[in-house]
Symmetry: C2
Subunit: 555 residues, 2 copies
Amino acid sequence: MRRMVQEAYAIGVDFGTASARTLLLDLRSGDELAVSEFAYPHGVIVDILPETGERLPSDWALHEPADYMVVLERGIASVLAEAPGAAPHVIGIGVDATCCTVLPVTDAGVPLCDLAQWRGRPHAWAKLWKHHAAQPVATRLNEVSVERNEPFLARYGGRISSEWYFPKLIEIWLEDRESYDASAGFIEVTDWVVWQLSGHERRSSCPAAYKALWSEAGGIPSDEFFQAAYPGFSQPGAKLGDVFFPLGTSAGPVRRELADKLGLPANVAVAVGNVDSFVSFPGVGAEGSDTYVMVIGTSICDMVVHPQEILLAGITGVAKDGILAGLYGYEAGQPAVGDMFGWFADNLAPAGGSGSSLLPGLERAAAALAPGQTGLVALDWWNGNRSVLADADLSGVLVGLTLQTTAVDIYRALLESTAFGNKAILDNFVEGGLQLREIVACGGLAEKSPLLMQLIADISGLPVKVPESSQAPARGSALFGAVAAGADFGGFATISEAARALQPSVKQVYTPDPAATATYGAVYKIWKDLHDTLGHTHPTWMHDLKRLKRLAATS
Amino acid sequence: MRRMVQEAYAIGVDFGTASARTLLLDLRSGDELAVSEFAYPHGVIVDILPETGERLPSDWALHEPADYMVVLERGIASVLAEAPGAAPHVIGIGVDATCCTVLPVTDAGVPLCDLAQWRGRPHAWAKLWKHHAAQPVATRLNEVSVERNEPFLARYGGRISSEWYFPKLIEIWLEDRESYDASAGFIEVTDWVVWQLSGHERRSSCPAAYKALWSEAGGIPSDEFFQAAYPGFSQPGAKLGDVFFPLGTSAGPVRRELADKLGLPANVAVAVGNVDSFVSFPGVGAEGSDTYVMVIGTSICDMVVHPQEILLAGITGVAKDGILAGLYGYEAGQPAVGDMFGWFADNLAPAGGSGSSLLPGLERAAAALAPGQTGLVALDWWNGNRSVLADADLSGVLVGLTLQTTAVDIYRALLESTAFGNKAILDNFVEGGLQLREIVACGGLAEKSPLLMQLIADISGLPVKVPESSQAPARGSALFGAVAAGADFGGFATISEAARALQPSVKQVYTPDPAATATYGAVYKIWKDLHDTLGHTHPTWMHDLKRLKRLAATS
């Protein structure tokens, strides 16, 4: 039973790849009173370590952790300034971040790279989800887990990703033992921000379950497993901990001095940290098991919930209570989407323009083409494949190029490849027994690319709904803040109740065009054959190309 | 025995895809006294028929035949103006052209499209070698020839190309019967120019043997064969004729009024027409069976000669006396080379530049990369595959794309793909029993792309020699002009003698780098697997993409 108070607000902060969005939500009306966005001062660090100018190897991607608190403070100050009078009635804060984005910290929670003696060590910085240099570790862990027939594999579609917790942790152990030994913990950014906000280390069960191979029933994989893969790597949970808090619980109130600094009242509840994708599920108002939610931005994360645990190949993970309490939450995804379109604009843009300013024009021109007209088919593996192949060493493919092919043809083929990849993921869920009736799409590209939305509808044959909120993750985090505050204080008892009560309206529905669906059915057959041949039967071709590239770079 | 005269010169004219080159050769010294180049006023017509503005279907490529005589007259006037005093001592003219580039003509040799009532008919114009719209006809002829086990197939590597004479002829018969019926002949451009020069229709045996399925022993394929493929298409040789003249013979002297107009003496011998690629073989001074000659420009033509007839799969053709008298001449090739690099510069050039002006910069940047460093592998099928798959409906492929891939990486991958395709062709000859010891490369890219030459050397493991002459075809045509004039008049008795006597010096030798050869050996394994999978085992994937593209364009 929710206690109706005069006014109640919650704040959600969503830490993305390049920036953080902060949202102030009115818990009576569901109105988004203010939204702000601030880019990380150091951006994404891929080429050169800021401290030393040292060149980073390929596949690296770092963050400066101090940036998180800088943009959090700016973001909260900004939304409170936009809604005068709201600050005293804020009851909760929720945060979410990209995942697995992790950093080594001292036992006081100080990032290792913020200490002068470690600042020149690349491994002391925060590693972004798309840092892929731990692929050899992931490959080794996969081999050993298959050899040992480890039971945890079934929860992760049969494969561990290089983006996850243990590959990144063991990468440090292998390559910079001193940084490894000097750190007391290795922690998700979402959990680290909650620690900074509340003063308490309260790690969330959600990233642990999806990215650190943890389950409530079985804990993390055994010491024997890790020792078999990496002799000498013992106490695998030492830097992870073994107490995890469920989503929606409170980590405690905002620290008093920080609350004062931000102009917040006392006792603002801080929700346990969440993951940017999962938090979008209630953010868009989804709560049923026939809804497939896509968060479409730099990459795509797909989510469904279901009362039963179904062990599917090719998903990223399944965890009980991982998305909504009481249900199994399933995750799948595509690792290069907006990144791939941006790559195209940056590197292969038609003469006379440059970068992302070209994207609206490319979208308009690509929308003028008919299904099948490009003569092209692409595999969207610019950043490897997450679902359903789970192989980060796969790479992108373009087939069908002729002397008549234009840049616009290729751009449309990249959009189509995203929608084909999505169909493979959907089909995998349906073959596993889920009955999906609609797609709800959120994230930057759900707003910016109507063509991509129409292609997803045409190629999947399902309607695609885009909700009114453009900030589904921050909205979802605000809802979790309201749940952490509790119904007695103007919040909610459960996240499902919050999602139902404050469901955003639908801004746009994309309905499949039957003629386009038929044509794309024929293209999809070719796509699927290429996908299976290059990704499943002969992955060594792409693996060898990457190996030769690494050799060339080091010789 | 060659009679030594005071002064003797020959002129060679080489009709390419976009322009014609004219060369004045000193037959005593071998010096190239003057070279000129003139673009066709109407260029290559691919989009719109000049007369009507009618949009041409995809895969079409036309020429305006009047352009040939315009550039011939300009070219000869230009070289004679550069070498004052030479004109009275010119003894012969040879011409060569792209092949199969063919046009319908009246019995007086007037191009059908130059008659007012046919000018609005696309099928009345000259069809360029790279006009590929007759692929369905080629496919049908291939099916029927396999069903009937036609003996001629063995001379053409087992497949008829859509670029050849009968597919193009039957295309008119099927699609514009009136134009077909109105034409008395369907003739190669090289033969048509010889007719215009000499006043005599003297068709050459060389294009007939390589492109019209003709052999001295067996003539053209039977009426029954054509009737089986296309009931009603009878008298297949009616527009081809059945008398063909060997290379090096004279079609007669230049017509008097034309000689006067050009400032040439009486009795300048006009050699029977030749093909731009084949004429380059003596043009570079080659005459032995261990030399592999590559003409590298818009496309690549590869040639070898051998005393025996070896029936190889995957070559374009073999004909006795087709290149040099007394030897079997073998042809193979790659249909998109300079065209593919130009396509890249035109369509996917980095921001801030455009078109072919970017190529030198791309070449320099690509040359700075090491073997294997791009992480990419490409199949160079932008214009289909000629050798060793002979399938015009294949299309280009890029594999290995990542978010780190640059435009320069892709450009280098395109250069490498050309060299990989060449290795497949070389290997096919070697497996057939030929012993090849060196590559002689000529054509525009042999001069303009040292990187491509080095890649061909590294990937094949053979040295690549580039001769001093940048106009091998025009030089070769001039030699045939000298042979047509005969030894008694300051020319030569045979083309082999001419090639030996006037062999150009070597400008540059590219030697394989063993480390690069080793790395590319590993990349070639991947390339070959992709080549076989996409081109041989599953060609329907690309065929279906093209079919869907055609459907989309017509709906």
